[in-house]
Symmetry: none
Subunit: 404 residues, 2 copies
């Protein structure tokens, strides 16, 4: 039994696994295309999930299921020490229903919405399973393979959140990989937390002339914004806020009945995020109170509705944890000089719970993610370099019990 | 022939006209409901205009037409002295497309957006025509009945402006009534001037996290609003301001490239309006400057574009003019102790051109104009009191040639 990455990579079994990745690369590409062409818009991942579950079954995973929120789960049993390492990729794309997801191929390049983010990740999981099976590798900890829902945008990480809060394996998962995006030059070891709000100020409205003197929600909004501009936030841990999208009011000669703004608060630190959140809510409360004091509330007072439309917890994974150390040890073997970074991914959830987690790319190159021009290059050598490096990192984390 | 209001009110014909108003009050109420339920959003008065033109035709008006700008015109011929008295109500409401305009009735109260402002006015014109016809009254001057477009908001009085600048009757109109709103306790003899703006703050935008620290036009907007809330304006001459409609921004995780607000400035006094305008522009300039000082302008600075989207001329009608004297003479007969006031109505245009004009309410009571809770009370005695008083004022202005 070993967690030693150098030893694992030097083993015959790992060589066999890499040979399987190479031999199966054509199939890997075919599966990227096949899965990409099954649209998975936000909150509508069901068709792709069903197809992916079918693949998990065909790959011989144990206990394959689609859980209560729509995640596809399947277990590759290890030696059975009671712990699991989760290897996940997300099913959803940012693209709305009706988007043409047909893959266009030019040489080694594949063009389609979602092809790299994160369909290549989904296909990578299948390639890993085949490689481990071909090499007869038994991991120390069980591998829980997951195709999860709701990573993008308003999905708000609901798939992985469910996995760790209500999922049946929630107490067993000792480490978490999200295989998301392509590059391995930077692994994500810090989760940027965010609260997203739509704040709506409401009042009685009225005629701009005749009702002049009544409270106007626009001035409460104004005061909140002015307060935001004066907020002090730490540079380290990086903490930010942004008033972004505005609306409200119906006519230039009417006091608006409601005005609203969407606000994004973020921090690398949960406590800094919560401090910012507290300060932000206090600004809103004072803005409402001051407008109700300033002006006439005879026809009604200003109120504020604070609707949390996004909630991603902050967190981080220690650099001396096994999962990060495995990446640091494995990636240089494949010529990858990696750095660590912070971003907002499925790994936010386990990191916020203190469960070691990183984001790892699936390899290859590409561009224009989140645009209709999204593309990846599946040129075999670069593609295999990333797949192999990822597999070595996973094995260094889950440990190899037999076959290495 | 007479312009003597006392004589007109004492006549059998006027009594017959008032009896017609009473007998037809149920129909009047039905027509308020019918017309209210035909939405007439700003710049989209066409459907209501067509229905109103049909009613003009059904009421036997001459030369019924929808003019080049969308006003509904119809002439009730008088003795034909070459002059016209225009009696107008406006077709448009402040409410946007999609607003539910269904009338809810509770006892004698009608609730619906626009029911009082100005749909009751439109229905009053029809009731007047029927009353004049029932009494066989021939006026000295032709009566030009008008359902006009663009009184509210960005309409910027374009309907009545057209009537007096390009309309075919522009040289014949010797007096102008806008039957707008309910109350007759105050007739409008002075035009409140207004400047209306769309103020757009622009900046370089950027990612809410990655570009944090760059200038954000939202905070310049906020400071302008906070400054507005603190503005001091005179109560006499009545001077008001209102921040009304908001928009801007594209995504919750992006610093907006632009945000905008529409603002209404008004005063009875041109000099007070100009003072307010100066103060308002100074607020904008300082808000821009302060945001550019507060935050990073490396990627670009905040700018403000001040787009004047409304400019309504001030003006007044002399109290010794026949139209005002007719109101002063007529209203007390109906127990209405009237005063004169200033507001911003379709009458701004003729007043600014030196053509005698007043705003007259259509009677009844109500409240919450320009809000979704708008209502009127059509209790018959109060309702008839206003209608009859208005008709007497119109007849005292247009003169009665026969039938009185």
């Amino acid at each position: 039994m070993t967690y030693d990455v150098d030893q694992i990579i030097a083993s015959d079994a790992f060589a066999t696994a890499c040979a399987s990745l190479r031999d199966g690369h054509g199939r890997f590409v075919d599966e990227i295309i096949e899965l990409t062409q099954i649209p998975a818009p936000p909150f509508k991942e069901g068709v792709r999930a069903a197809a992916y579950a079918e693949k998990f079954r065909a790959h011989g995973l144990d206990a394959v299921e689609i859980d209560g929120i729509g995640n596809v789960l399947g277990v590759r049993r290890g030696r059975g020490n009671g712990q699991m390492i989760c290897v996940a990729a997300h099913l959803d794309t940012v693209f709305p229903e009706g988007t043409d997801c047909t893959v266009r191929r030019e040489g080694t390049k594949l063009f389609a919405p979602g092809v790299g983010d994160d369909t290549r990740g989904l296909a990578a999981l299948l390639a890993y399973i085949r490689a481990l099976d071909a090499a007869g590798i038994v991991t120390e900890q069980d591998l829980l393979f997951v195709g999860d829902v709701g990573e993008e945008g308003k999905g708000d990480l609901r798939g992985v959140r469910h996995l760790f809060t209500e999922g049946k394996y929630r107490d067993q998962i000792a480490g978490f990989f999200t295989v998301d995006g392509l590059n391995l030059d930077e692994i994500t070891t810090a989760a940027i937390g965010s609260y997203r709000y739509r704040v709506t100020f409401r009042g009685p409205g009225g005629h701009s002339l005749m009702a002049f003197g009544l409270v106007n929600p626009a001035y409460a909004l104004g005061q909140m914004l002015t307060g935001m501009a004066a907020l002090r936030v730490p540079e380290t841990p990086r903490t930010t806020f942004c008033a972004s999208v505005f609306g409200g009011g119906t006519s230039i000669n009417a006091i608006p009945e409601e005005v609203w703004v969407e606000v994004d608060l973020r921090s690398e630190s949960q406590s800094a995020l919560d401090d910012l959140d507290t300060a932000f809510r206090a600004l809103i409360a004072r803005a409402v109170e001051d407008e109700n004091t300033r002006a006439d509330t005879t026809e009604g007072a200003i109120t504020a509705e604070i609707d949390r439309i996004g909630n991603r917890p902050a967190g981080s994974t220690a650099h001396d944890s096994r999962i990060v150390q495995a990446a640091f040890a494995a990636l240089p073997h494949f010529g990858i000089a990696t750095t660590t970074g912070a971003s907002s991914t499925d790994a936010n959830i386990p990191m916020s719970l203190g469960i070691p987690a990183i984001r790892l790319g699936s390899g290859g190159t590409g561009g224009r993610a989140h645009s209709l021009d999204e593309w990846i290059d599946v040129e075999i050598e670069e593609s295999l370099r990333g797949l192999s490096a990822g597999l070595a990192t996973i094995l260094g984390t889950a440990g190899v019990a037999e076959g290495a």
